[in-house]
């Protein structure tokens, strides 16, 4: 479906060979920003994600969630007639996105060198497991594999407990986000200079980049960070605390907020304790500090303490489940749950677009995800076939 809202990428055409999640998440963002995204899918079955549940009336809601607002044409890139169509598409496209195993595009005759020579306007973006260079470049990778290899699992989980997966696909979605940053930058560069570039994103690289602070702590201090449950590694108090009926998060990110918190909780002895005077001292004594705060918080419910601390201007809040998160007033106010036709007369509710811009509308609905080959006629007409 091509009725995307107008956005900063209106007029940009993306040919999208990507499947499953990392590449499609990048092109979802591009569609949300107004680009025309043409999925080129294998004739039998298309994008693997079409087979991932849950299903609504036989159609994958997993697929719809990341492919709404795109168009689809099925082409066999080993068939001459289909290759001719694909090449006409490339001629009219601004960006090609793919997330094949490195080497696949070269085997098809569509590696960067070949494409750049023939379509000098075309930005080529690849999101692969380990990037297009290096000794492990061709290793197969999925989200879980790079979450494990990249170290993020080793710092996520209960203190002393086994490493756990980040509950969303940070391996894929992270790579999709960095790819979108880079593709937009490549569009800026092309608009300024006329030069198209290849973007080579490795999911593993993105995991290292996302570690950020943990990389620095390890290289500076030499200590290997481990999982810390629900507290921040270096800022104290900045964590979840138990209350009489659940948990509360308090983020007292500096000395002023710490004193404010002590006042709001009516804990003057804590405020004046020299062992809690600075963040470094609080970190040293964090276990005792936590025990003292939790002893106090046992005297009230999460709701009570949120009211008390919010009134005092402290950053604090509950630990919401997905239902509670979606019921937060900001979700409706910020249009973060959009309606998308399920293709069978019903409606899906999917995560909205956080890229809010004053120059563009953010309507409450989005076009459906395409059926496999569902936009063939419009796409053939676009390339003059």
């Amino acid at each position: 479906m091509t009725q995307n809202t107008k956005g900063p990428l209106s007029g940009v055409t993306v040919v999208d060979l990507s499947r499953i999640l990392a590449g499609p998440y990048c092109t979802l963002l591009m569609a949300e920003m107004g680009a025309r995204v043409i999925k080129v899918e294998a004739p039998k079955g298309g994008d693997d994600a079409r087979a991932y549940g849950p299903f609504v009336k036989g159609k994958s809601a997993y697929f719809a969630s990341v492919n709404r607002g795109k168009e689809s044409i099925s082409l066999d890139l080993k068939n001459e007639a289909d290759r001719a169509i694909f090449e006409k598409l490339l001629k009219k496209a601004d960006v090609l996105v793919e997330n094949f195993r490195p080497g696949t595009m070269e085997k098809l005759g569509y590696g960067w060198e070949a494409l750049h020579a023939k379509y000098p306007q075309l930005i080529y973006a690849s999101a692969s497991g380990y990037g297009h260079t290096g000794p492990n470049s061709k290793d197969p990778a999925y989200d879980m594999v790079v979450q494990g290899q990249g170290g993020i699992m080793s710092i996520t989980g209960s203190e002393g407990g086994p490493p756990v997966r980040v509950g969303m696909s940070i391996g894929d979605i992270g790579a999709g986000l960095y790819t979108a940053v880079a593709v937009n930058a490549a569009l800026v560069h092309r608009l300024k200079t006329g030069e198209a570039t290849k973007v080579d994103i490795g999911m593993f690289d993105c995991q290292i980049a996302l570690l950020e602070n943990a990389v620095m702590r390890y290289t500076v201090e030499g200590e290997i960070p481990g999982p810390l449950g629900a507290r921040h590694p270096t800022i104290v108090p900045f964590q979840a605390f138990k209350t009489s009926d659940g948990s509360i998060i308090i983020a007292a990110g500096n000395d002023g907020l710490f004193l404010k918190m002590c006042e709001a909780l009516e804990m003057p002895a804590m405020a004046s304790n020299p062992e809690y005077k600075t963040n470094a001292l609080r970190q040293k004594h964090h276990a005792r500090l936590q025990a003292e705060i939790e002893a106090r918080l046992q005297g009230g419910t999460t709701e009570h303490w949120i009211a008390v601390l919010s009134k005092a201007g402290l950053p604090c809040g509950p630990i919401n489940n997905v239902q509670q998160a979606l019921a937060h007033p900001q979700v409706a106010a910020r249009n973060m749950l959009v309606e998308v036709p399920d293709g069978s007369g019903g409606t899906l509710k999917l995560a909205g677009n956080p890229l809010k811009m004053s120059a563009f509308a953010d309507p409450p609905t989005r076009p459906a995800a395409p059926d496999l080959d569902g936009d063939r006629a419009a796409i053939l007409s676009f390339i003059g076939e």
Copy 2:
């Protein structure tokens, strides 16, 4: 320091009022892409992150990690002379980035409406806790608070265990990434049309967007997702398994890979078991499937099974800690650990830039993070003072 590498954003000037992490992570990416980023900091102490440990020779490595390659000038935005300097900077800037509590810029007389009227070329990007609209817009927020409110903690952790924090600051870094996507898109739009736009990113919105699949599963199936330890919610087997000496991640993301895995593990009964024939069936019987696989994997070490499964082309790998992750051969091959002067004659090793582009070099070093007000002379000369 202004000797950033040339990149797709070369020639772009960013005035950066942002502090701590979400905004600075966005402008770090912009500096990595070649933009000139001028931090405007409060005269006493500057960016709060300058006070966050660990410290190297008295300087914050936390600060250096996200502010390397930027310049700094300290200005008091309540002082007339300093405001005049700031306004000259805005006149020459392409982008203003800030992550104040909503309303702060308006109080200073620098809200979007006022700035857009006076500096029509200026893209204005805000990254706040809840965005600039909605009933909770002005609530204070830090990373932990939006991680809790946005639902990601509720799906991260051991099965049946307490929710845990994602080990890195996904609240801040996520918002920084979406802000970078949007700012680059706004640059594209301005190059095409001349129009500058306001970008309004809410950290909470970004958390909802990052949930993605979990939002869809809840709205489609009505079940509230919980933490699942180290396995994927809907793809089986796609998880960590215990071996004789640790854990291994196996990501058999489709039926073909599942059969390949059974063959490599020499488990023909599993391959032919009709109860494991499809992903939906495997999900239904995942506990039994896991027990059978783990019984087999007890017969060898993680290293052994990685060798066996890799040879068969299965996506698999270890759960690395940060030290092991940084020792992965791709980190050196892909320049994902860069050297940055610590400002006192030594060198920091920090996470590199995953935005690899063929048109631009990716040198092994980066300029230092600026001292507070360290680039005043160069910045004043830039605006003709």
